[in-house]
């Protein structure tokens, strides 16, 4: 087994591997800083709404489907773990193990979206959308909780779908046989995926554990 990761494929302006690696990780982390600020803005909205009417917020939060939320959290945690396994397998050129781990991540990710879709269906059947006529609450806090819930989970789901596309791209690169030399692309993809996971780890208590 080779000690160092396989010799990487160099892209345009870079001549040395470590410079290109530093650039890709640094560039991606700059993008992750924008993601932190983007989601941070929504959490600021959450903080203002919750402090404005804590009682109503808790009443609204109580109706969130804790079981499905918890299942999703476990799914996403596991997908982070499997993607880390995949990335390390790619670096160690364990192609078969990498392929299995990537597929596992894709399955876990799609499962998350499926459970989310099912949860949306449940929520809608209980009229838990602020503008739906049968919305059970009048408290300001509850209205704002549910508008925040739909907004943030939809945006997180969009980010997750984009993440799934990039992870699937790794599988495509593996089929082309260039995944080994392009292990940097794999590393950068996992960084993005882990941030989407961290955002959900923070979202889970804020949406599902309040008002219990």
């Amino acid at each position: 087994m080779s000690v160092a990761p396989p010799t990487p494929m160099l892209v345009e302006p870079f001549e040395q591997a470590d410079r290109q690696h530093e650039a890709m990780v640094f560039g991606l982390w700059l993008f992750l800083a924008t993601e932190i600020l983007f989601f941070g803005g929504f959490f600021f909205l959450y903080a203002v709404a919750r402090l404005q009417d804590p009682g109503g917020f808790a009443v609204g939060g109580h109706k969130a489907n804790l079981l499905l939320g918890t299942i999703n959290t476990v799914l996403l945690m596991s997908s982070s773990a499997t993607l880390t396994v995949a990335e390390r397998a790619i670096k160690a050129e364990w192609r078969r193990a990498a392929r299995v781990a990537i597929v596992a991540t894709l399955i876990l990710g799609t499962a998350f979206l499926a459970v989310k879709g099912f949860e949306y269906h449940e929520d809608l059947s209980e009229h838990l959308f602020p503008t739906v006529p049968g919305f059970p609450f009048t408290a300001v806090g509850a209205i704002r909780f549910w508008s925040f819930y739909w907004l943030i989970t939809l945006i997180h789901a969009v980010h997750l779908t984009i993440g799934l596309a990039f992870v699937a791209r790794l599988l495509w690169l593996d089929r082309l046989g260039t995944l080994g030399p392009r292990w940097m692309v794999a590393e950068v993809t996992t960084l993005y995926w882990h941030l989407v996971d961290i955002v959900w780890l923070l979202l889970w208590p804020l949406l599902y554990l309040i008002g219990r």
Binding site: M1, V25, W29, L30, S80, W94, I198, L201
Partner: protein
């Protein structure tokens, strides 16, 4: 970026699973504590647990600790600039 020891099954598969177990455990604690009726400071504790989980993911999965100073600074700056938004906006919202 050579690993310090030759990569074998331990570092590739076992370590991530251990980290996963830690994340799962922390999540269980957070859930358990939240379901105890009347327990004090629930939001605080759940946020503290999220902080630990996040640093686990950052450290073990994303290897932020081993990244260059530049990359760690970038991650820090994202959070510091977010605190600007919170601090200055709440300077208005809290004192109105």
């Amino acid at each position: 970026m050579a690993e310090d020891r030759p990569p074998d099954a331990r570092t590739i598969v076992l370590k991530p699973l251990l980290v996963w177990a830690a994340l799962f455990g922390l999540g269980a604690i957070s859930l358990g504590y939240a379901l105890v009726p009347g327990a004090p400071l629930k939001p605080l504790l759940s946020l503290a647990i999220v902080l630990v989980q996040a640093s686990l993911v950052l450290g073990a999965f994303m290897k932020l600790g081993k990244a260059s100073a530049l990359v760690r600074m970038t991650a820090l700056i994202g959070v510091v600039w977010l605190s600007f938004l919170f601090l200055m906006a709440f300077a208005d919202l809290a004192t109105r």
